[in-house]
């Protein structure tokens, strides 16, 4: 195992910025340190070796960035969240003729597909548009293809059942060359696009924003800025959903929201 210290990490952040233009300085240090140490261990590198390999546009820069921005996701991740969204959020949406959802930090589309399936089963999909964004082009390309390995899909299916899905997840994909391909029906109302939460601004107004397991990797200061952006992107009485371990605490916008569900971290904008 390699052990990095915080001053090493600052050097690494600077080198990544020089080589790729991407700036990790707004990312939470304890997590970054752990990711970077693991990267070195996994690739049997020392910090000086790694730094000497960090040339502009080199594969290793992208590989390292990938590692440091945690892209892990699952369909119907935290199944009770989806049960909560259905029972506590969807009822409010009935009166809207058209609905806009934003999945911010969508990884390879898992969460957006889950939301689309939920909307379909509740009869809202045809009047819904889901914007799913991420800063990582590689995961977005995967998301647009909507292809998953069968072993991943097994986990997703278990989650789907735990989330009280009404059918079988296999109703929403077909298998081709040993991979699961999400069906067109589920994909057609989702727009995948590049958006950096830390640099890009408001691009639409939404009734529902889900930003789960993304801000947990940001520093307190950056997090407050991103919360501001999410707040400004929500329509009045719109919903904001965070990950299982995240709350509005220390967000700077606590006052503007009503807590819909403390455990599932669902909030509603009230001012």
């Amino acid at each position: 195992m390699n052990l990095l210290e915080y001053p090493d990490l600052e050097v690494l952040i600077m080198q990544i910025r020089n080589a790729s233009g991407f700036d990790f300085s707004g990312y939470a240090r304890p997590s970054l340190l752990r990711r970077a140490s693991r990267y070195l261990t996994k690739n049997k590198l020392t910090l000086p070796q790694l730094i000497s390999h960090l040339e502009p546009e080199s594969d290793i820069v992208f590989d390292l960035m990938q590692e440091m921005t945690v892209n892990y996701s699952e369909m119907f991740r935290d199944p009770d969240f989806f049960i909560g969204v259905k029972s506590e959020v969807f009822t409010y949406l009935e009166s809207y003729p058209g609905l806009r959802f934003w999945v911010a930090g969508c990884a390879s589309g898992e969460e957006a597909f889950s939301l689309a399936i939920l909307l379909k089963e509740c009869g809202y999909l045809n009047r819904s548009l889901i914007y799913a964004t991420d800063l990582n082009n590689k995961v977005l390309t995967a998301a647009r293809e909507g292809v998953f390995t069968l072993s991943n899909v097994r986990t997703f299916s278990e989650n789907y059942l735990l989330a009280h899905g009404q059918n079988s997840l296999s109703d929403y994909y077909h298998v081709s060359y040993n991979k699961a391909v999400i069906s067109r029906e589920i994909r057609k109302n989702i727009v995948f696009s590049l958006h950096d939460l830390t640099g890009d601004g408001v691009f639409n107004e939404f009734q529902f924003i889900s930003c789960r397991n993304v801000m947990i990797y940001f520093t307190l200061e950056l997090r407050q800025r991103v919360f501001r952006l999410l707040y400004e992107s929500l329509s009045m009485l719109g919903f904001l959903c965070l990950g299982k371990r995240e709350t509005l605490r220390y967000s700077g916008i606590e006052q503007n929201f009503r807590v819909v569900d403390t455990v599932l971290n669902i909030y509603q904008k009230i001012k």
Binding site: M1, Y6, S31, R34, Y72, I216, L220, T247
Partner: protein, 198 residues
């Protein structure tokens, strides 16, 4: 890096364990008749869906604050903290807790290594770290890092552990840990958590 107030003295006591450690943790919690002179942080491997059993069990019996902290919560002296299941608990140099949902270490989340290593490099003084019983090698690396930084490290004698692998691996990786046993560990821990200074 952010500046933070150093006015409130803070030191940490870390306790890690897995299979067979729960009973030991309970004994440690029973020692807490008044607020400890440190922040006490428990990292116990437990199932994904296990509930907040530990704090609930003991909160009522003592006047000591026992919580599963929020992400970014400030670490406070005289508090007892428990890592939540299914996420890593990291200790930041800004004296806050950070959750991390990335890969497991040795099939475990929370990982003892992740928490202990983060504490070792945080710049916050660690009064002592303890590793008890378990069937995984998690914790061995973290304990070594802590010991090499000059912090006091104690490992349960594998002969007395319900599941000896965890303490064995720690001793294999670093020979200088002090051994404790079932007869003396409560006294040792009691002296440490109520002693002044580091």
């Amino acid at each position: 890096m952010r500046t933070f107030s150093k006015s409130q003295p803070l030191s940490l006591v870390l306790l890690g364990g897995s299979l067979g450690s729960m009973v030991i943790f309970e004994e440690v919690l029973k020692l807490l008749t008044s607020p400890p002179d440190c922040a006490l942080i428990f990292i116990l491997h437990r199932g994904k869906s296990s509930t907040a059993l530990l704090p609930d069990l003991f909160r009522r019996k003592t006047g000591v604050v026992m919580i599963e902290p929020d992400h970014l919560e400030e670490i406070r002296s005289a508090h007892v903290y428990f890592a939540l299941p299914d996420c890593h608990l990291l200790i930041g140099p800004d004296r806050r807790f950070y959750y991390d949902l990335s890969d497991k270490d040795f099939f475990s989340r929370p990982s003892i290594d992740a928490a202990f290593v983060s504490a070792a490099v945080s710049g916050i003084p660690v009064k002592a770290a303890f590793l008890f019983s378990g069937s995984s090698p998690d914790g061995a690396f973290g304990m070594r890092v802590l010991a090499e930084k000059g912090f006091a490290t104690y490992v349960l004698d594998p002969a007395e552990a319900e599941s000896p692998r965890m303490p064995e691996e720690a001793i294999k990786l670093y020979h200088g840990h002090r051994l404790i046993n079932r007869a003396n560990f409560t006294r040792i821990i009691n002296d440490i958590i109520y002693s002044n200074g580091v």
